[in-house]
Amino acid sequence: MNVNRLRNLLRARPTLFSVRWNNSENKLAIYDPFYAKPKKTKETYLEVIKKFEDQDTRRRGHVEFIYAALRRMKEFGVQKDLEVYKALVDVLPKGKFIPTNIFQSEFMHYPKQQQCAVDLLDQMEDNGVMPDTEMEQMLLNVFGRRGIPLRKYWRMMYWMPKFKNLSPWHLPDQLPGDTLELARLAIQRITSVDPDTRVDTWQTEEIEASLDKTWIVSAQSRTQQVLLSEQPLDEPLVIKGPFNVYLRDQVVTYFILLGKIRPEYKDESDTDDVSNIPRPPGIPGVIGKVTLPQVKSTTHEQDDGTIVAVCATGTSSRDSLLSWIRLLEKNNNPLLSSIPVIFTLVAPSSDVSLFETQPATQNEKNES
């Protein structure tokens, strides 16, 4: 009797197997609810999560769902949104994974689920999203206070606030989408070395000869104006660039106008020598000499040249840089009309056609 039954089973097996095999080969199709959404926004993302929660009371496959959802975050542009992460944690069932004895808590109760939650927190950390106390309550309800995700959460809450505002150059949480605003931020950051610097936004339309109609963010301090006015007429100024500056993940290219390297200020006088004490210079404006002692060394005098101005333009083209020089000339730098300016740009930036139409101006630049 038993032997017969076994034989039947064995006989039935290959057919059953082949049928299933054939079926699975022909009819397997992956349904991806994230892919099916035509509009990739936060609302549709949350909709998919809600739909998953509603379709099955047991929420089968929630670990796989969370992993799939984490991978799709960038596509929907929600990777920096705390609310979305909370919605994903909410998918995990409450109370089921809390260990009830020491053995369970020691040997990682429900390891895949715990690892999944840790990976979720990891992704938050990578994207710089700081969790809040509600997240802690949610994780406590899911894993209990001995859970690995809770340890991860506490570590994050200890360290992340320490690093959040550590940068000495503050940036807004949301960087502006407008390139002009971004360039202003970048130039302000670069020139924060001299608090006297004035950052101006000019339009190239002010110069009639300009071809590129764009904006220019230019920065120059009063010290730099003095340094520029002391540039000898026979030594050309140099425009260098484009250089990159990063504002988080945004890149702004900037150019610098370099003057000649000024001789180092040397003070050979011996301060301990009392044989010839000069008359004290007095207090400027009150007693004695009225002018301030000349500052010989400023931050703008770097070892590869004297930086006399910094700018970023909308197109980073040569024509816009030429307009920048003209605009600088208009704004309190009359010397620029008689000093030659050399363009040493690393790579031809922006349109190639732009300076094909421009050979005359190219010569003009070097001559003027």
């Binding site: 990682m108 340890r151 570590r155 070395v193 770097q302 930086i307 910094v310």
Partner: protein
């Protein structure tokens, strides 16, 4: 049949790429032997390799080894002579003058750059970043390269994108390992010109036992960007203890007399070129800074921290 062939080519491809990767990188952390999804294993007991499996040392035969050794005898004896002279003649430093920077490395000469080694994830076939450390146009040192966070599709690497710069291990004659002694100072001074990215300063304090081999103290180096030089002064008390890049729960201050390496790394998850120009790296004693360690050292609940 078709299915079978498909399976075969697939497995062959899998085998090929695996073998290529294994030839150069034998990192034990990346080895997963079965298909079972396991949580990362904890190396609590024993670590056999100082480099954690990332050993790039070229293997030479015994004969070549002896020949190379003979060639080095002259320079090693010279080092020994200097060492003896220093032992007899030099007085130990007792105080550091406040406000004066003592230079560790000044990158005015290209020779100093040879004391540093660069590494990036593409060296071990774990990514696509590349970097180099070379003289800059202004005559200083330039740490530059391209950071790429693309992950190679080998099924093992999860995250990629780092470039690192590290000084070589300081040593005495005949390859005896030594350590830097910085206990007179309390501030690290770096003169640099960056590109607005943030970098990581790494100070390794490798010890004798294997659990201390990967101890590195980290701190962030923010750069302003732009053409102006910037001097960053960072107190040693702010450095955070990490092991294999993971911040440790039980923190402790740096043993400044046991420093083995200094390094800078770039890994801020932003794709693109990076440029960090360095003029010097130095040490300073700041008497106004009396902080011992910047982070809380209070006791927490049992079985929560450090497990």
């Amino acid at each position: 049949m078709a299915l079978c062939r498909n399976w075969k080519t697939y497995s062959l491809q899998g085998y090929r790429s695996f073998s290529i990767l294994c030839r150069q990188c034998d990192a034990s952390a990346l080895k997963i032997h079965s298909n079972v999804n396991v949580s990362p294993k904890r190396l609590l007991f024993w670590e056999k390799d100082r480099k954690g499996g990332y050993d790039a040392k070229e293997k030479v035969s015994t004969l070549q080894h002896i020949m190379k050794g003979f060639k080095e005898i002259k320079s090693e004896f010279k080092l020994l002579g200097e060492e003896a002279k220093e032992f007899l003649a030099a007085d130990p430093l007792l105080i550091a003058r406040p406000g004066e920077t003592d230079l560790l490395w000044c990158f005015n000469e290209p020779k100093v750059l040879e004391q540093f080694v660069t590494t990036s994830d593409s060296d071990h076939n774990q990514g696509y970043s590349s970097c180099s450390f070379s003289p800059s146009p202004a005559g200083r040192a330039l740490f530059h390269g391209y950071l790429d966070t693309r992950v190679p599709k080998d099924g093992r690497v999860k995250k990629a994108g780092y470039c690192a710069l590290r000084s070589q291990r300081t040593r005495k004659a005949f390859k005896r390992e030594a350590t830097y002694n910085w206990h007179l100072y309390n501030t690290l001074v770096v003169k640099l010109r960056g590109d607005g990215r943030s970098y990581l300063l790494n100070i390794s304090c490798e010890g004798y036992y294997d659990i201390t081999w990967n101890d590195i103290y980290h701190y962030v180096l923010f750069t302003r960007g732009g053409p102006y030089w910037q001097i960053a002064k960072i107190p040693f008390s702010k450095f955070i203890l990490g092991s294999k890049g993971l911040i440790q729960d039980k923190q402790s201050r740096m043993r400044l007399d046991r420093v083995t390496h200094f390094g800078i790394s770039c890994g801020d998850k932003i794709d693109g070129p990076f440029n960090l120009e360095l003029e010097y790296i130095g040490l300073e004693f700041d008497p106004t800074h009396d902080e011992d360690f910047a982070y809380e050292m209070y006791k927490t609940d049992r079985y929560i921290v450090g497990v």
